[in-house]
């Protein structure tokens, strides 16, 4: 570690390189293991946000859809802060648009495991 690096770390400006290595590996391995490249992931992220937005107003800037991996199991994790639910007529229209009759919208936590298609999550009955 050079003196410069040391000072940077002391000032909290730079993470130790070992920590960066871990974070970078976790990300790259999640992609390696799922065979999803960043481009596909970005497309999926956009489509998921689109669907979710029909039901609730979300903070697009804060929204985050990413792959996480633990114990060799990869999960698709969406963290989408909800500003508020959409007014009822808009919801009915949204439901009709995806072809389901008058079902109330789901209030599930916005995290899906990879094996579930996102639509399935949205259709689940609230309990």
């Amino acid at each position: 570690m050079t003196l410069f690096d040391f000072l940077q770390r002391l000032l909290g400006r730079q993470k130790p390189s070992g920590t960066m290595a871990k974070e970078r590996l976790q990300l790259v391995l999640a992609h390696d293991r799922s065979d999803l490249n960043p481009e596909l992931l970005e497309q999926m992220r956009r489509e998921i946000l689109e669907v979710v937005q029909r039901y609730v107003e979300i903070d697009i800037e804060e929204g985050d859809v990413s792959l996480e991996t633990e114990d060799r199991v990869t999960a698709l994790v969406a963290n989408l802060p909800i500003r508020r639910a959409r007014p009822l007529p808009a919801l009915v229209a949204a439901a009709a648009a995806v072809g389901m009759a008058e079902k109330p919208p789901a209030e599930d936590p916005p995290a899906f495991a990879l094996p579930h298609p996102p639509e399935e999550e949205a259709e689940r009955e609230p309990d």
Partner: protein
């Protein structure tokens, strides 16, 4: 040989994905260590394009035949097995020679390993780098595996690929050796930590080997560190791996407490001052 009465041999693939992380060094040292513990051990050099295991074991001048001649029935298996001079429990079998044009097939590998296994307790297969044909051939006969990696992003990423392939092949158990650990860098978090690597790869750790210049010295001599009870940290690490493989409960080394053994320090001092030994 009492092949009928003994338990089936442990057939262990030593692999890494990335090249140059310490597969051959591990195979040589582990082979000697197991043999010294009384296990009849055969080390098989599956990396015949770039044969190196003979050199590390100091057996480079003694190779006459390879697995290829055994399979072609131009020689018997015991003619091809090169016995180690000081450690008769250990024998080396090269899969082929560098001039060989066609690769052994996975079936060839299974045949030769089955023959070797009949007369051994441990068969260690030194795998070539990469995940292509060389790996697939070497892995064809393996029952279990040791994946070796260094605490570096590229090595860990490649290890992950190999672990995925081993999983789909049903090789089990797969254990991890972390090599070339630099305790100081780990302490200052300028290197991936032991737990970082075991967490990411989700494998049980069977050994932790520090960066140790004695590894190079022993390679120069063609005498693995485990051969002469050398007390250097890497030597002890390799011995401990051998014992863990046999089911002994040996506590894992703590890299922050790794100091050179007294004997090794003394020998080194004498070596430096006298130029002898």
């Amino acid at each position: 040989m009492d092949a009928v009465t003994s338990a089936p041999a442990r057939i262990i693939l030593i692999c890494s994905g990335k090249g140059g992380v310490g597969k051959t060094t591990l195979t040589a040292n582990l082979g000697i260590a197991l043999a010294r513990l009384g296990e009849r051990t055969v080390v098989l050099d599956a990396d015949f394009g770039l044969r190196n295991l003979d050199l590390l074991l100091g057996l480079e001048n003694r190779i006459v035949y390879t697995a290829q001649e055994v399979l072609a029935e131009t020689c018997r298996l015991d003619q091809a097995l090169v016995k180690h001079k000081q450690e008769p429990n250990l024998a080396l079998l090269p899969a082929g020679n560098p001039r060989m044009l066609e690769w052994l097939t996975p079936e060839d590998m299974q045949k030769i390993v089955a023959m070797v296994a009949e007369r051994s307790d441990f068969v260690l297969i030194d795998c070539p780098a990469g995940i292509e044909d060389g790996f697939k051939n070497a892995a064809a006969a393996a029952r279990e595996a040791i994946v070796i990696t260094t605490p570096e992003v590229s090595a860990v990423r490649d290890a992950d690929r190999v672990i995925g392939l081993l999983n789909t092949r049903g090789v089990e158990p797969v254990q991890l050796v972390l090599n070339r650990v630099r305790p100081k860098m780990m302490a200052s978090q300028e290197m991936l930590g032991v737990e970082d690597v075991t967490d990411i790869l989700a494998l049980p750790l069977v050994g932790l080997v520090v960066e140790d210049e004695q590894v190079i010295v022993s390679t120069n001599r063609g005498e693995p560190l485990t051969l002469n009870g050398n007390g250097s940290p890497a030597a002890r690490a390799y011995q401990n791996i051998a014992r863990r493989l046999r089911g002994e409960d040996v506590p894992m080394e703590d890299p922050s407490k790794q100091r050179r053994g007294l004997r090794a320090r003394l020998m080194n001092r004498i070596r430096k001052t006298t130029g002898l030994i």
